[in-house]
Amino acid sequence: MRVWIGWALLLLVLVGLALVPMVLTRDLVTALFFTFIFLTLAANYDVLGGFLRHINLGQGAFFGLAAYATAVVLTRAPWSPKLGALAVWVAVGVAIPLTAIFAALVAYPLFQVRGPYFAVITFGLVLILQQIVLNTSRLSGGSYGVTIPARYYPSLPTAYYAGLALAIGAVLINSFIARSRLGIAFHALRDSEEAAAAIGIDPFRHKQTAMVIASVPSAAAGCIFALFMGHLYMETVLGTDVTLLPVIIAMVGGSGHVLGPVLGAVIVRGLDIGLVYAALPVPNLALYGLMLVGIGLFLPGGIVHVLTRKGR
């Protein structure tokens, strides 16, 4: 019975979310669009961060790489203008596989290390991409950034639905992983890599798979974000926000649980958006920070784990 109520509510939410652009004002639709982008990143972060317990500060690298690839194809490829609206699809078609291949390749150096070292080396990956962007001005525009021609901009509802689809996709991927043999392998690897190898699980290949899986929705999110913002600056698509916010969202919600990133996104972004409406005399960021302190200390390990009383 209760399961059915759950599914019914889920359906209700999905229908509600589908109706949002018709019901809510543009600012809220925009805010939700950004929420979906960050939710996608957070859910993707959790493939490594939750299932494999590798704190990955490099999720933004895939996002930024795909964003730049999209922009570069649309602005620099001589054949792009001839394709019309199709060019966007070509650009996305280049950006996503490129990012997936990149993810597969960087897995080789990145997975040489574990623990805090992994967090730092993945952060280093973002820093390296930043430097590459800054030092290839002919392609990427360097610190000037790149402008995507206005004819390619999606309308707000289009962006919204694309974001929604991505976020749902990313969460579904996680829930699929959790139920599949891949999930069992990840779980085994996270508990003991040695023992996992001893029962025939290839540690590297599985981690690499995780990284590639996690890179695809993030890459797609990067593409939409690039098209929506219209102009890419290195700091906007490869900056600290893109690097840290998904991690915080996943951790606030509960890393390692399918619903963790969802709850985290609702709470973190809800705070962010809600505080603007509250119009308090104290800077919003300060209150936002203090609330994160509260969440961190009073709901340790993430809200999902406290709710399901599985807190470790």
Binding site: R179, R181, I184, E194, A196, I199, G200, D202
Partner: protein
Amino acid sequence: MPLLEVIHVSKTFGGLRALDGVNLSVERGETFGLIGPNGAGKTTLFNVISGFLQADEGQVRFHGHDLVGLRPHQICRRGVARTFQLVQPFSDMTVLDNVAAACLFGRHRIASIQGARERARHLLELVRLDAKASVPAGSLTLSERKRLEIVRALATGPDLLLLDEVMAGLTPAEGQEMGATIRHMQAEFHLTLLIIEHNVRLVTGLSHRMAVLNHGSMIAEGEPTEVVRHPEVIKAYLGERRSRGA
């Protein structure tokens, strides 16, 4: 042709020679006991055979094929399974899934999770852990963890099972029980066993043949009863005792 051949394997850590030209061969179907004082290089030898360490020189042959250069999961899939001296259960997973994982990814690579769990349940009965199937492995007692460790290795479908001090830390009664379980398993699955044990008495009772390792070198090999009477072996064990006392 022996099932496992270790040919002149050496391994050095820093300046320490952990294995020094070790030769060993294990015949199909036998139980081979490997004893030696602490630090003799027993676990290092296991790590070399199972691919966790690369030997500096020498060969490891299994079914006549060289294992050197293969990584642990590849060796597992060829039919060599091992346990760890310090047991390493997947502590957040259920006992059942610990074993099911081995069924999924071991040599037989059962395709469906459902099928793997069924097989795992059957195997758990064998070591009397079926009642604990749905608890997290982290909450088991030491003796239960040791049994889980063995059954998980078994679930990968090996020809050769390497047991690393599976009786250490158990009470004498538990040790006896473990011995019985091992014998039973060997008979049912036609296993070849290579056992490391610190406790000489227990392993003597189980083994068909035995060898003694000291300071990385093989000092004796043969019938269990002969081996334990070998003067070098006595010296090695007594010497160890003396140095401990000092």
